[in-house]
Symmetry: C2
Subunit: 285 residues, 2 copies
């Protein structure tokens, strides 16, 4: 699958440059996603609690990093977790089995653009860190709206790498962040999608769209967050695209490493790192 394919790019399909999921599918990446989810659980899931018995779809559950937190916040829901990667889905299943063995979860292997469920199958749909990887998020939202009952809610959480704000502000550090944005765009995604959730959801026919911003702010007063977010989530994500960035001719290995070294200084004493997530909730009219 390439970015010139006119059809919607599948969720997290393929690895590496020019394909859906820019961060790849390595064990390191699966661990990074788990670290990220644990760190951000409060930020992402606060305010999302579905009543017991609700039919909930998590579209693009990946390795289940968010699934376990969703089940923590909404015990007793009837969850369907869908992903296009069979390998990720197996990891998600194992994670949920270990974390919430009694949870009622159906696992669906497939493309979220072509879900086999009848119209109005779900009361709520939850989508976290997925739209940013899609070539046509509007098409995905339309497909999700079809399976959501009228009056049901859609919740979408996405980042926006343009909100990364750090001190010291090194030029090489800013460039590696820009490379990540560029690689994701080359793969058909949009690492700056947070800022446009509001019009995306409205254009897809949802109503009462409300977007809230949730900022991670890591400095010397929050050493655990510096470790878990700045180092193990953000910088780890940047480091993971080193080979792709060099292969794409965006930078040299040396320049890339200089950028990462500058980013690391934001996690040292006196440094600060801030990043904003966008959480949108909307209703299917």
């Amino acid at each position: 699958m390439t970015t010139s394919t006119p059809q919607p790019t599948a969720v997290r399909a393929g690895t590496g440059l020019g394909h859906g999921y820019v961060h790849g599918y390595s064990p390191t990446e699966a661990r990074r996603l788990g670290d990220q989810a644990d760190t951000l659980a409060g930020l992402v899931h606060t305010g999302t609690a579905y009543p017991p018995g609700s039919r909930v779809l998590e579209a693009g559950c990946g390795v289940g990093a968010q699934t376990v937190h969703l089940l923590d916040s909404s015990p007793g829901v009837l969850l369907t977790a869908a992903d296009i990667s069979a390998d990720s889905l197996a990891k998600a299943r194992a994670r949920v089995a270990a974390h919430a063995p009694g949870a009622d979860v159906r696992w669906h292997h497939g493309d979220l653009h072509r879900l086999p469920f009848p119209d109005d199958s779900f009361d709520h749909v939850f989508v976290c860190f997925v739209l940013e990887h899609l070539a046509d998020p509007a098409a995905a939202l339309a497909a999700l709206r079809r399976v959501l009952r009228p009056g049901g809610t859609l919740t979408v959480i996405e980042g926006d790498h343009g909100t990364a704000c750090f001190h010291p502000l090194g030029r090489a550090a800013q460039r590696v962040v820009d490379h990540l944005v560029r690689l994701q765009a080359d793969g058909g995604g949009d690492a700056l999608i947070g800022r446009r959730l509001y019009p995306l959801l409205g254009d897809a026919g949802f109503r009462d769209v409300a977007v809230g911003l949730r900022t991670v702010s890591a400095d010397g007063a929050r050493p655990a967050l510096v470790e878990s977010f700045t180092r193990r989530t953000f910088i780890a994500m940047v480091e993971a695209v080193r080979a792709d960035a060099v292969a794409a001719g965006l930078t040299t290995a040396e320049e890339f490493d200089r950028g990462v070294a500058e980013l690391r200084r934001t996690a040292e004493p006196g440094g600060t790192f801030h990043y904003t997530f966008f959480k949108a909730v909307a209703v299917n009219p």
Copy 2:
């Protein structure tokens, strides 16, 4: 006063390019500051309430745009409001007289680096949108710490133009924001100061530094905020440096206007605009 002066640049001294207060002192600017303060009052002042009888210094009160809100949140304080501009101070005095005629306010015309008050004169110091305009904010913080009693608190609120995040993301729009940052730097200030409040306060000898981020998010769901923040605060601030940006050779009038037109689209249906303020509270040990 120029940026090559080795002494600390005074607060809001002078107008235009190469001098302290990048936004100037026009009636339009005074009105913009009032609009901005009213829009952001909750964001800026929430969490700041000093007990009646507290000796409070507002350093750099300008035209009193924040002063009236400070007095609303902390009735009964003994306020000293200081500014280097006699004209601004007169406006602040009139504003407070109209808004809070019974308030106990001493007005001080002078440089916050050389306040004539004895050591430990105040229980609390409040500084809002001031450090960003100073050539040496560390020196200012040291001068403020001298007049703050041990155990007293310092509150600092600043913006950071690097957090401006908008959709549609036009290149010309991003450039005019960058010009504003550059002009403020040429004047000896730092429009990206928010991200470094944490180390600045720590290095100045304050303890228990806690920085919270407060984001304005304006989209179609919040039309009043689109009008008051995106249009009348942020875009108005950008437009006010048009002549300076052209005079400095950063841009042409035509290119600048294209950038402003792109920024205006973020305030139209489907557009979004986000900006983050940094609020730091710290203790004088």
